[in-house]
Each structure stands twice: as structure tokens, then as C-alpha cells.
């Protein structure tokens, strides 16, 4: 029995095995940080790399994220008890006028799997709602999603509102955007701090923001 078995169980999408193996490691006295990092986060990173490389696809990503979630459910109380904090807090949502959430949900799952606390505001979210949630939860990052070309102007407005709050209202967050119609150049034009090309890239970017 070892943390490597948890890693393998995530790679094989064995949700129940992951939960049992995480419990077994806890019982054996393995450190929760090690279980989290080597058993749950590490395999999800590998899955993310394969997703970005186009060798694994959405079903595999969902299955792996669900397996990691099963492990996290068991680990979470202990993480709190032992003072292991989330690596950062992300407020996530689809912008105003857009109700599409498939891509956003995938980003949320991967962020949680990577050790972030995720506040998902759902769909049709405006700039002020992002700001309030970020303030309440002392968030590090606001992540905006959108599918429709018609929601791109809304994204621009929301980013401007958040950046204005960063300057004038004592907010201190990074803003990133993602979604099919947007791209790096658009992100830079509207004043976002980053663009996430796909869900794993969004996680990588979020990590860079919180580790500096």
C-alpha cells in the first residue's frame, strides 16, 4: 500500500478505490499533504497534460476529476484540522447574458482537484457580483467564462469593473478569461491579466498567480 496506488487509481478512474486508498493512507499515518499532492493533484496534472495534448478527452477528464473528488471528500476535514490551506481561492462564473456552463464547470473541477477553493457563481454573472463574492471570500483570482460571441462585450465590461475595483476599491485579484470565442489578444485588449486556452491551462495560470 502506498500513495502511488492512489495515483494509479485516479489514472484508472476508480472512484471507490481512490476513496478507500486515501482512507487507508490516513489510517497508516501518511501525511495529508503528501496524500493530497502525490496521490490526488499529481495524477490530475498528468490527465490535464494529456487532455491538452489531445490524447485524452472530456469523459476521461470528468472521470478523473470525480475520482479525485472522492479522495478530497475524505481528506477535506483533515486538511482543515491540520491547517493545510487551499493554495488559493478562485471566484468562477459565466458572464452576464450567457448561460453556458460546460467549460466553466470543467475548469472548476480541475481547480478544486489542484487544491484551490472554488466559489462557483454559476451563469449570467455581472461584474459587481464577481467583486462581492471575491471580497466576501478573500479571493485571489476571478475567472470569467463565456461561449457566445455576443457575451464578449459583457466580458469586457466585467473585466473593466473588476480592474476598476482593484484600483479604486481595495480589491486585489487577478482576472482571467476563457471560452471558445476569446483568445489571448482579446484578453489583453480588454485588460484581463491572463487567458486560459483550455481547462488545464487555466489551472496552470491560476497556480502561477498564487505562487507569484
Amino acid at each position: 500500500m502506498s500513495v502511488a496506488e492512489i495515483f494509479d487509481a485516479v489514472m484508472e478512474y476508480e472512484e471507490e478505490d481512490v476513496a478507500a486508498l486515501v482512507q487507508a493512507e490516513i489510517d497508516a499515518g501518511t501525511g495529508v499533504k503528501k496524500i493530497l499532492q502525490d496521490g490526488l493533484i499529481a495524477p490530475l496534472d498528468v490527465i490535464g497534460e494529456k487532455f491538452s495534448a489531445g490524447t485524452l478527452f472530456v469523459p476521461e477528464m470528468l472521470m478523473a476529476a470525480e475520482a479525485v473528488q472522492a479522495g478530497l471528500d475524505i481528506l477535506r476535514p483533515l486538511l482543515t484540522e491540520t491547517g493545510v490551506k487551499p493554495i488559493g481561492t478562485v471566484v468562477l462564473g459565466t458572464v452576464k447574458g450567457d448561460l453556458h456552463d460546460i467549460g466553466k464547470n470543467l475548469v472548476g473541477l480541475l481547480l478544486e482537484g489542484a487544491g484551490f477553493r472554488v466559489i462557483d457563481l454559476g451563469t449570467d454573472v455581472d461584474g459587481e457580483q464577481f467583486i462581492s463574492a471575491a471580497q466576501e471570500n478573500e479571493a485571489d483570482i476571478i475567472a470569467l467564462s463565456g461561449l457566445l460571441t455576443t457575451s464578449m462585450p459583457e466580458m469586457e465590461k466585467a473585466v473593466a469593473t473588476v480592474q476598476d475595483a482593484n484600483t479604486n476599491r481595495n480589491l486585489n485579484v487577478k482576472v482571467m478569461i476563457g471560452g471558445p470565442p476569446v483568445h489571448h489578444e482579446f484578453a489583453m485588449t480588454i485588460g484581463a491579466d491572463a487567458y486560459g486556452m483550455d481547462a488545464p491551462a487555466a489551472v496552470e495560470q491560476a497556480r502561477e498567480f498564487v505562487t507569484g
Binding site: 478512474y13 487532455f51 489531445g54 485524452l56 478527452f57 472530456v58 469523459p59 470528468l62 472521470m63 470525480e66 452576464k96 447574458g97 450567457d98 448561460l99 453556458h100 460546460i102 464547470n105 449570467d124 457566445l148 460571441t149 455576443t150 471558445p180 470565442p181 486556452m197 483550455d198
Partner: protein
């Protein structure tokens, strides 16, 4: 020689160059224009004909004959009639339960006002064969689907030699997402593959039955194009593995669907398959099951550059769409749209094998000038 609309499009789909590139607009509910976009276009063109809705769910308009004529459109749409005595009903203006007991909700705050599926009969819990078998499946051969079909075909034939395009709704993936929920459907590929395949078979049976009813009503010899579609791609990749999941689970069903319509029409009808996003890795499989044309050719998705598609597959499949809805059409100038249209025709239309259309329905914010620029460029195009 002078070409009829029908001859023009069929020549192109047989990989020959007709007089000019054939044009589709409104042949199916994913090659048309959103209701909001259509109102703008009508106003700009001075068209006063009342707006006909092609699909309330997709918020797609059925463009008026006057508009189609002005743009030189070669296709004419035939929709199925409404399901008779079925369980489908409206809860209110914004909520609809369809014949598969899927709950569709209007995106009220969205400018397009289209509908997204919110709930379905297999949402939540485990999917089992008993659950699939126990569902009160609608009848694909319901006579309601034939209603109005032969009249519409006669009308098309009487008004001119346009290509008769039958739209067949549903499929085994897209409707499955709605019934089971998107994430659950994809996870069931691993968790409950037998039950999921049973559901796919039910959906496949339904589709084939509807195809028979509609083709019979239209008269098999009158059907030029059959449209259907599934979403297999994402912006940057495939929804699922083309070489395992698609090949094992979906391809055999798609083969049966295409074969059904080919058999019924004595191999005369051309099949246009709609798949958004990066369809690249699925194209060899689609060719193999007998698909004649790929729509909407989302040129901004991964590996969907027109040059690549034409070079690799241009002799075996035609391309239908390709005018950039994510950038040029909404955000470019009319001049840029015209140039982009010329570019796409010169690449995808070389040697035939191309039908001009936007990538999916023209969206609400697309300026009417840009729509006109796209279609005029097509109408003025000449081979040789």
C-alpha cells in the same frame, strides 16, 4: 449550359465545378440565422414578409422566399411536422417539455433567446438497462412527422428547381446529452456503457423511423439532401476519443442511420452531417459511414484550417459552411467578409466539393451588410 439550383449543388457535392459556388441559407435549422439577426436583416433589406420560425429551440428563422431569391440560395428546407398526440407541451413561454420529456428553458437574458436543456428523464442516479427500457419512448414513426412534408416538397418543385433538403432532428449523442445530462452521458461511457448503448439504440431506432416517415412523405425520388448532426467536437479537441469511443459506440449507429436514408433513396440523396468544433479526427470515420458533406466547418477550431481539410479529405467529402462566425462575420467589415468568403471559396471550392454557408446560424450581432457581402460574393462567384 444554364444550371438549375439543384444541378448546381449536386454537381458540387459530386466534386465537380458547376457555374458558381452553390449557396445554402436556411436549408436546416443550423444553417440559417437567429430570429434577432433575421429581424435586423429584414429591416435592412426592406423585407416586410412576416417572420417564420424554423426552430424555437435554436431560435432560428425560416428565411422568406424573397430573401432566398435575392441571395441566389440553392437549397429549400423541409422540416418534419409536429409530433401528434405526444407528451410534449409548453409550461409557459420560456419552458418547454419535448416528446422525450426533456425540459428546455429559454435563455431569457441572452440576446438570441435560444433554449438550453435543463432536465431530462434520465438525469441523476445510475443509468441502467431497466431504466432505459422502462421509459415511455416516443414513436419515431409518428404520423405527425409527415404532416406538411409532401405539400412543402410540391411547393418547392413548383417554384423552381431548388434542392429539396430534409432536416432530420436528433441523433444518438446530442439528444442523449439532453436526456441524461451532458456530464453524466460522457461518464456513462465508462460507468454504464451497456445501458448507454441501449439508450443509443433507442435513439437510433427513433431517428431511422422518422427518416422513413419523412422520406416516404416527400417521395424518395424528390429528396436531394438529408441533414442531421451531432456535436462531437470542442473548440480545441474532440469531445471523446475518435478511435475508441466513437469507433466502438457511435460509428455503428451513424452507419445505420446513413445507410437507412441511402437505401430508401436508392443512393441518390446526399447526407450532410453537422458537427461543430474540431471535427478533424472524426472526418475519416464520417467518410467511411457514407457521409457526403461536413457542416459547419468551424474554421477557427483546432485542425480545421480549410487548406488542411481540402488537402487531406477534399476528394472524399464536401465541405458545407466555413464562413467564420466567431470573428469575421460579427466583427469584420463587409469588405473583410467578402475577402474571407472569396478565400474560403478558392480553397474549399476548388474542383467543387463546397457549399457556401456561415459556420452555424448567423448570430444576432452580425451586421446585415456583412451577411449581404457573404451571399453576394457567392452569387457573383464564377468557376473558370
Amino acid at each position: 449550359m444554364s444550371w438549375t439550383h439543384r444541378e448546381r449543388i449536386l454537381a458540387a457535392l459530386n466534386h465537380e465545378e458547376p457555374d458558381r459556388v452553390p449557396i445554402d441559407f436556411g436549408g436546416a435549422e443550423f444553417t440559417s440565422i437567429t430570429l434577432a439577426g433575421y429581424e435586423r436583416l429584414k429591416k435592412h433589406m426592406g423585407v416586410t414578409a412576416p417572420t417564420e420560425v424554423m426552430s424555437i429551440i435554436h431560435s432560428a428563422a425560416h428565411p422568406a422566399e424573397e430573401v432566398l431569391h435575392k441571395f441566389g440560395v440553392d437549397t429549400r428546407n423541409v422540416q418534419p411536422g409536429a409530433y401528434k398526440d405526444g407528451p410534449d407541451h409548453w409550461i409557459d413561454d420560456n419552458n418547454y417539455i419535448d416528446m422525450f420529456q426533456v425540459h428546455w428553458q429559454r435563455t431569457e437574458k441572452d440576446v438570441d433567446q435560444h433554449f438550453l436543456h435543463k432536465d431530462g428523464p434520465f438525469h441523476g442516479g445510475k443509468l441502467t438497462i431497466d431504466r432505459v427500457e422502462g421509459f415511455d419512448w416516443p414513436n419515431g414513426a409518428n404520423p405527425g412527422f409527415a404532416e406538411g412534408v409532401s405539400e412543402r416538397v410540391r411547393e418547392i418543385k413548383a417554384k423552381g428547381e431548388h434542392a429539396v433538403c430534409l432536416y432530420l432532428p436528433g441523433g444518438v449523442v446530442h439528444r442523449g446529452y439532453a436526456m441524461r445530462g451532458f456530464e453524466s452521458y460522457l461518464k456513462d461511457l465508462y460507468k454504464a456503457p451497456e445501458a448507454l448503448q441501449r439508450m443509443m439504440d433507442k435513439l437510433c431506432d427513433f431517428w431511422c423511423d422518422t427518416a422513413r416517415v419523412m422520406i416516404e412523405a416527400a417521395g424518395p425520388e424528390n429528396v436531394d439532401i438529408i441533414y442531421f448532426g451531432e456535436d462531437l467536437g470542442t473548440q480545441d479537441s474532440c469531445m471523446f476519443d475518435p478511435e475508441t469511443i466513437y469507433k466502438d459506440y457511435l460509428k455503428p449507429r451513424h452507419r445505420r442511420m446513413v445507410q437507412t436514408v441511402k437505401d430508401m433513396t436508392n443512393d441518390q440523396a446526399k447526407v450532410c452531417f453537422h458537427c461543430c468544433g474540431s471535427a478533424y479526427q472524426f472526418i475519416p470515420h464520417l467518410i467511411d459511414v457514407g457521409v457526403d458533406a461536413l457542416n459547419p466547418v468551424q474554421v477557427t477550431a483546432k485542425n480545421m484550417e480549410p487548406e488542411r481539410l481540402k488537402a487531406e479529405f477534399g476528394d472524399r467529402i464536401s465541405f458545407w459552411g466555413g464562413i467564420n462566425t466567431q470573428h469575421t462575420l460579427p466583427f469584420g467589415t463587409a469588405q473583410e467578409v467578402a475577402e474571407e468568403t472569396k478565400r474560403i471559396i478558392s480553397i474549399l471550392g476548388k474542383g467543387g466539393g463546397y457549399v457556401l454557408n456561415s459556420v452555424h446560424n448567423i448570430q444576432a450581432e452580425v451586421p446585415p451588410e456583412n451577411i449581404i457581402a457573404m451571399f453576394e460574393t457567392g452569387a457573383n462567384h464564377r468557376y473558370q
